[in-house]
Symmetry: C2
Subunit: 338 residues, 2 copies
């Protein structure tokens, strides 16, 4: 009960909490001396710590962990919040990416933290088609489609002397050889076999290979959205510019972030401080959750905030949001699939 009160107090006030204030607030009426004794025990257990020898206590990572695992009860979501979520997700979306991106924004607005969303994915995607669409005299658009329904495109200019026939031959080559293969394999083929084969049709294949590689890596990337980047400025207690910089840099490295999020196993999962694999985030906490979209796979939402975040509220919020989002996406697919 005391640990719970300490966590609640500290996360809401940010000030180390002392025995007296605690005693006054507890449902039990015991004196501050009693509380002090208990606190000493909690400290021995490593659940709380002092900032200096005569300060109040703050929860340690272990303390937060225990709180989250055994004590916290998620706040029921406020009607107001659920309204905001519902109405924000209510728009007319013509592609899932829009919904996912909007989700990151909603979640960050609601919490004043930074939110991440990953598009639902069935499995590792495979190449299902590649095309070159001529647009003008020299302009061509490369379009790549995966079996997950992701589309990636890039326009580029082609060097003079290359004919439409040549391009068609190359496109045929790609489609014949690579359709159906996982993108990873295709990327690898691009390093090995493909260049040689393309030389049959193009004298200088570099341009084409570059563009093909670009759309390919683009498509192979996780569909990853960030909302509320600027909120980092609020709660990054460090005025340390360098730390902020590396944080921002990290958030733009899709791969790193994807590995930080991992594939959460639980519905809602909390990683606290040093539990996060990435060192840069060792003073933050991360709430991750999956959302499942029927047979269209599952995605991830996540929330990054200070270690001393109000967990009960945030866990409740993320829990509610994952359900709303899943529902919204199921509706989306129901409409377009049929």
């Amino acid at each position: 009960m005391i640990l719970k009160a300490i966590v609640r107090d500290y996360t809401s006030s940010g000030v180390p909490v002392g025995s007296k204030a605690l005693a006054a607030q507890l449902p039990l009426h015991v004196s501050s001396a009693t509380v002090r004794n208990e606190m000493a025990t909690l400290e021995d257990l490593g659940l709380i710590a002092k900032t200096h020898s005569s300060s109040g206590r703050i929860p340690s990572v272990k303390g937060y962990r225990y709180y989250v695992d055994h004590l916290v009860q998620p706040d029921p979501i406020k009607p107001n919040d659920i309204d905001i979520i519902k109405s924000s997700l209510d728009g007319q979306f013509l592609k899932i990416d829009e919904i996912i991106e909007t989700s990151a924004r909603i979640l960050s607005n609601l919490t004043s933290y930074t939110a991440f969303t990953l598009k639902p994915e069935l499995k590792e995607s495979r190449l299902s088609g590649f095309r070159l669409v001529p647009l003008g005299k020299r302009q061509v658009m490369a379009v790549l489609v995966t079996d997950n329904g992701d589309v990636e495109s890039q326009t580029f200019n082609i060097a003079p002397g290359i004919t439409g026939d040549q391009l068609e031959a190359v496109v045929r080559l790609i489609n014949d050889q690579l359709v159906g293969k996982p993108l990873k394999d295709v990327l690898q083929a691009l390093e090995t076999d493909i260049p040689m084969q393309v030389t049959q049709y193009l004298q200088k294949p570099e341009g084409f290979l570059k563009i093909f590689g670009d759309v390919l890596t683009q498509a192979a990337k996780e569909r990853f959205y960030v909302g509320g980047r600027l909120n980092l400025l609020n709660f990054s207690d460090a005025n340390d510019v360098d730390e902020l910089k590396s944080l921002y840099t990290l958030m733009d490295r899709t791969d790193d972030m994807a590995s930080v999020l991992g594939q959460p196993t639980d519905h809602v999962q909390v990683k606290i401080g040093s539990e996060i694999t990435n060192d840069i985030l060792k003073d933050y906490s991360l709430i991750t959750a999956t959302y499942e979209v029927g047979d269209h796979g599952k995605g991830v939402i996540a929330l990054l905030g200070p270690t001393r975040m109000p967990y009960s509220r945030m866990i409740g919020l993320v829990g509610a949001f994952r359900q709303e989002l899943a529902q919204r996406l199921i509706d989306y697919y129901r409409y377009f699939d049929q």
Copy 2:
């Protein structure tokens, strides 16, 4: 001479400069008392100011202005810098946008400030083609091309019940009625005539209209790139989070930034502090320059830094860069145009 020395000193040290240090440094050998007298005059003229009653002097906006207009001589660019520029621009680019984007990055790296680049433009662009490319069962890609060579595309899902014929009819409608018109006019037509006409072919035209509107506004936007956003953290002396936030927000508002940059008339132009139209930037300085790409129009590069930036170096750098970039683009066009 004294003003010049004050600006040079202050921009490099950041500390208000006093009469004694100044006297020691000047090519003339006069005493500090003399310098003090002159400084009093400069202050009366409003060219320099004190931070407090017994402090050294710092240049005022007016002082910087005078310095930039009459005293500064741009540093010749360092061989090292020119190498960096040349080699960074030397890559294999298949589209101008890549070059422009890279430029922003180079410029920001070189200066540790924040850089902006605008793609060269001939004039206001006009719609030169619109297409819908079917990709899968329900997926369609909308592609819009302007006469400036800009391509904008979006994929989206179409509601069941819409046939290929219907879409083709709509595409024909768009192309018949709107090709050749300035994008602005097209955007306006989208508010007025078009919706009604589209209803002839689609019962629920909202989806299509949304996507068409999206690619259209996207294409109508200035092609605008920012490099070194994070550098703002270095020199924003304000630890004021809110100010930083509004700065970042501003930089993402393409329209606002475009209006801040204006269409510079001179080759290299300097706007200091409150001279910048936007209030948020009143404590910063902006160096803008145009670069001309033969008959492919002209673009803008810009550098945002603190008011106390080393102008001579920055002006020299931007001047050199605009030429390198122009040359690089001319080469680019020469290769792909022929």
